[in-house]
């Protein structure tokens, strides 16, 4: 197909505001009489609160309010299950849990006041490891879990501290193992990764005298935030008005209320607007980082190298609260891809989400997928080597094929994993001689579902001839608004300048917002259909105004005319004027996509790296990332997603870790928590295996969570290829490589 707008690189329409500093993020909201809130956090991982004395803090000049749980309604909050107190009531469950909040005229004074609050605790036995937490003698962190609002009854478990146990299966696992010649067992662990967005969480709340509650929040699901805040502070949802703001990076992490209920209570108490901005230290000690995970795999393989049975036990460390999990399972559905890009006929995957006295975990770009992909793609190399089969051939003979039934119940069509993998290998140095000793190459692949959810929009032809789209989806930086603009412009067709997009989440009652590789498919599809409907209505109005049949109307170069006579051509503005007041010029729709499409996206990567045997330092020399894509709507944004995800994946694989010891985070600022910088990025080759077969508008597909997923596994496999050391836990830092090489040396190997 040839398109006029689709496929052309287009800078995000928010560009001018963002490059000049005019774009408004939550922390930029300044209201008259605004004051500041700061929270006091627990220094203990598990303790009973015996008393809190706030009297001295209240006396500090400039302090306007000090609140503890006793001043608040007894509610719990969360994205699905409501298990998280707004302030700890009788006990704290992790280091960093909120126990009191101060409002002051100045943020520094609020901070000073925190040091004047006296809290008396009685320490309780704590558990910091998810496997330990599942033992019968472990302390129970949430004995009342089953009574929490929205706790998922279907996934309750009798195992201690397990708040959700989900099983995905296909075929008969015992039968599968019975067919196997060899059975392999491998165990892997992964770590906690922060989303690393540059904008820490922030909230501003202003409560009017009549109770109307204005909310500005770092939240990519602002419509839902209205509902969650209303529930958390016990007011009707209609009273909450969420105002649109730019989101300074999301990566899955910005869907919770964070400090906004506290802002509400402080505003209610003081009659002033209240702002709370988390410091990055608070982000690292009490944000919602990626789940540390333990993964046990059992793989049955026939003599000819066919994988016939695959069993995975995946344990996610939820930390102290499960409230950051956004899906009804209250688990991490990415675990359902634990069998990788292989069409194994007999698979059982058990995913346990477990409470511990650690930082509560949340969603981070491709949640669960990264962890299980590291495991399965490492195990494929291990098995291939053990069986003496070429690791590429071993993969190829087990790949998913069209129509294979997967553990999540899907049968995929138009499967392009073979082409994607072959393209990655072909574009890399695979099989070629290596320039240096200690150079290694690793391959890994993954697939990612295209997201589902609810989309809403309002679309109208304005009197000035502009087509205006009002969306509840905020701008998180992925270019969602530009995508909407392009879809409308292409569908009609109109110049992009004639399409305006405005975020107004307050005009909607429900919506899935941004995330889950959803927007291009779910929102794009809805907007395309609405454009067709509005365009047809406008065509009919044009026919009326031109006094001709609809079939006789021509639309060319932005003008409506009677076919064959260009004299009386009408602009969109003139048609809008002629149809002024007509209801069909402003439409509103909701669409819910519950089932993930049968066509999905595959990624394959080859990483080439060099290990310094003296220091353990890994230098990535070259990365090839290969993606099976449909039509690309905006090449600039599409490549931006690939690039950003890949570097985030490198961070996960070898640089970043929220280091915790007995529940205490020791990487408490971005000097210790190492986000990749500009000098850390390797040469990158992107390969697009393109075919116009996507389910999203113009046969496009999702891309946002693709490139991040296989990176860590490809690095692990390449490190093994380089120095013969296999890593079963992430991240693979220079320190770990150094230690492993030292140990091997001391064993005289």
């Amino acid at each position: 197909m040839s398109y006029t707008v689709v496929g052309k690189p287009l800078g995000n329409l928010e560009g001018p505001a963002k490059v000049t500093g005019a774009a408004t993020f939550t922390a930029d909201v300044i209201l008259p009489e605004m004051i500041w809130g700061k929270v006091l956090r627990s220094p203990l991982p598990h303790a009973r609160i015996l008393s809190i004395d706030t009297s001295e803090a209240e006396q500090l000049p400039g302090v306007l309010a000090v609140l503890t749980a006793r001043d608040l309604p007894d509610t719990l909050t969360g994205r699905v299950v409501y298990d998280t107190p707004v302030l700890a009531r009788d006990r704290v469950r992790f280091i960093g849990e909120k126990v009191a909040v101060v409002a002051a005229e100045d943020p520094d004074v609020a901070e000073d006041a925190l040091s004047l609050i006296e809290v008396e605790y009685e320490e309780l036995p704590a558990v910091f490891d998810s496997e330990e937490a599942m033992k019968s003698d472990a302390p129970l962190l949430h004995p009342d879990y089953r009574s929490y609002p929205h706790a998922p009854e279907k996934f309750f478990s009798d195992v201690p501290n397990v708040h959700s146990h989900v099983t995905w299966q296909v075929g008969d696992i015992e039968e599968g193992f019975a067919q196997a010649k060899e059975i392999f067992e491998h165990n892997f662990t992964t770590h906690s990764q922060h989303q690393g967005f540059i904008e820490p969480h922030a909230s501003v709340v202003s409560v009017d005298p009549d109770g109307r509650t204005h909310l500005w929040i770092t939240n990519k699901m602002p419509v839902r935030a209205q509902k969650l805040l209303a529930d958390a502070v016990e007011i009707p949802q209609e009273q909450v008005v969420v105002h649109p703001v730019c989101i300074g990076g999301d990566f899955g992490g910005k869907g919770s209320l964070m400090d906004s209920p506290l802002c509400y209570h402080l505003s209610k108490r003081t009659g002033r607007p209240v702002k709370m901005v988390m410091t990055y230290t608070e982000e690292l000690m009490a944000g919602n980082p990626r789940h540390p995970t333990t993964i046990s795999l059992r793989t049955g393989v026939t003599e000819k190298g066919k994988v016939v049975a695959f069993q995975a036990r995946v344990v996610f460390d939820s930390g102290a609260y499960a409230g950051f999990k956004p899906v009804p399972l209250v688990n991490i559905p990415g675990a359902n891809s634990a069998a990788g890009v292989y069409g194994t006929p007999n698979v059982t995957i058990d995913a346990y989400s477990v409470y511990t006295n650690c930082v509560p975990s949340g969603h981070v770009r491709a949640p669960g997928d990264l962890q299980v992909t590291f495991a399965v793609e490492s195990s494929m190399d291990l098995i291939a080597e053990a069986m003496g089969i070429d690791l590429l051939e071993f993969r190829k003979q087990n790949l998913i094929r069209d129509g294979d039934l997967l553990p999540d119940g899907h049968r995929l069509e138009q499967v392009r994993i073979r082409e994607t993998l072959e393209a990655a290998v072909k574009s890399s140095n695979w099989g070629k001689p290596k320039a240096h000793p200690f150079v290694g190459r690793g391959v890994a692949a993954a697939y990612r579902h295209i997201g589902t959810g609810e989309a809403n929009a309002q679309m109208s032809l304005e009197s000035d001839g502009i087509v205006k789209v009002i969306t509840p989806v905020p701008d998180t930086g992925t270019g969602a608004h530009t995508l909407i603009q392009k879809v409308v412009a292409e569908t009609w067709p109109l110049p992009v300048e004639q399409v305006e997009v405005e975020a107004r989440p307050d005009l909607f009652e429900t919506d899935s917002g941004a995330g889950g590789s959803r927007v291009t498919y779910v929102v794009g599809q809805l907007v395309k259909e609405m454009t067709e409907e509005l365009r047809d209505s406008v065509g009919r109005l044009a026919a009326e105004a031109l006094e001709c049949q609809v079939a006789e109307v021509a639309f060319e170069a932005g003008h409506y005319s009677v076919k064959g006579s260009a004299d009386s051509a009408l602009t969109l503005a003139q048609v809008a004027e002629a149809g002024s007041g007509r209801p069909e010029l402003s439409i509103r729709k909701t669409q819910v996509n519950r089932e993930a499409p049968q066509v999905t996206t595959f990624t394959a990567q080859v990483v080439e790296l060099e290990v310094d045997p003296e220091t353990g330092q890994i230098k990535i020399l070259d990365v090839v990332t290969s993606h099976d894509v449909g039509t690309i709507i905006n090449p600039l944004a599409h490549q931006g997603q690939i690039d950003g995800g890949l570097i985030q994946g490198i961070g996960f694989g070898m640089m970043e870790e929220v280091v915790m010891e007995d529940g205490q985070v020791s990487t408490l600022h971005l000097g210790d928590y190492k986000l990749p910088n500009m000098k850390d990025i390797p040469p990158l080759k992107t390969v697009l295996v393109q075919e116009e077969i996507g389910p999203a508008p113009f046969q496009s597909k999702a891309i946002g969570e693709s490139s991040i997923t296989p990176v860590a596994a490809a690095i692990a496999n390449a490190v093994y290829d380089a120095v013969g050391v296999r890593f079963y836990d992430l991240p693979i830092t220079a320190e770990k490589v150094y230690r492993a090489l030292q140990e091997r040396g001391s064993r005289g190997e």
């Binding site: 500093g21 100045d106 004074v109 540059i198 989101i247 990055y280 930086g477 690039d643 000097g671 500009m678």
Partner: protein, 163 residues
């Protein structure tokens, strides 16, 4: 914003060509002074420890982390923030290039990136990719993976040197 017991100081600074006299508590950080005393919220605060570069401003032409500098440190100094990079009507070449070549996504690091890149091109109008990386490594971006930022700066430089 100051509480009664705090020591305050009067500072004079020139920001984006405009003179300001501000009374600030001695411990007020420059980033807070710019954002909240002067209302210039284009300058962002990310990490608060001088690592991420989101708060970068130019002080007498040199990029500094305004989250590490006390406001009193800027007394008598000339500051340029992202709001002062473009002309009245037209975006600076660097800003336009960031839009045209995907140099930003969420926009949170962008003000610091633009300001730091501006300082780079002032000193080195035609930087190599390695020089760009060396100069810009103190500005973190989580969205883009940096490739399109490097391209944005290179293209802006090419345009500048062609002109």
């Amino acid at each position: 914003m100051a509480s009664d017991r705090e020591m305050t100081q009067t500072i004079r600074l020139r920001v984006n060509g405009k003179d300001h006299t501000v009374q600030v508590p001695a411990r007020r950080l420059l980033v807070d002074c710019l954002r909240y005393d002067l209302g210039l919220t284009g300058t962002k605060e990310g990490c608060s420890v001088g690592v991420c570069g989101a708060c970068t401003v130019l002080m007498d032409g040199q990029p500094i982390s305004s989250c590490l500098a006390l406001a009193v440190f800027a007394d008598g100094k000339e500051i340029v923030t992202v709001e002062g990079i473009s002309g009245e009507e037209k975006l600076d070449k660097i800003q336009q290039s960031f839009i045209d070549h995907g140099g930003f996504q969420c926009g949170m690091c962008t003000p610091g990136m633009v300001v730091t890149a501006k300082a780079l091109l002032e000193q080195n109008p035609n930087p190599s990719p390695d020089e760009i990386k060396e100069w810009m490594m103190g500005n973190l971006c989580r969205c883009t993976g940096y490739y399109q930022i490097i391209e944005s700066i290179q293209r802006a430089a090419a345009e500048t040197s062609d002109a």
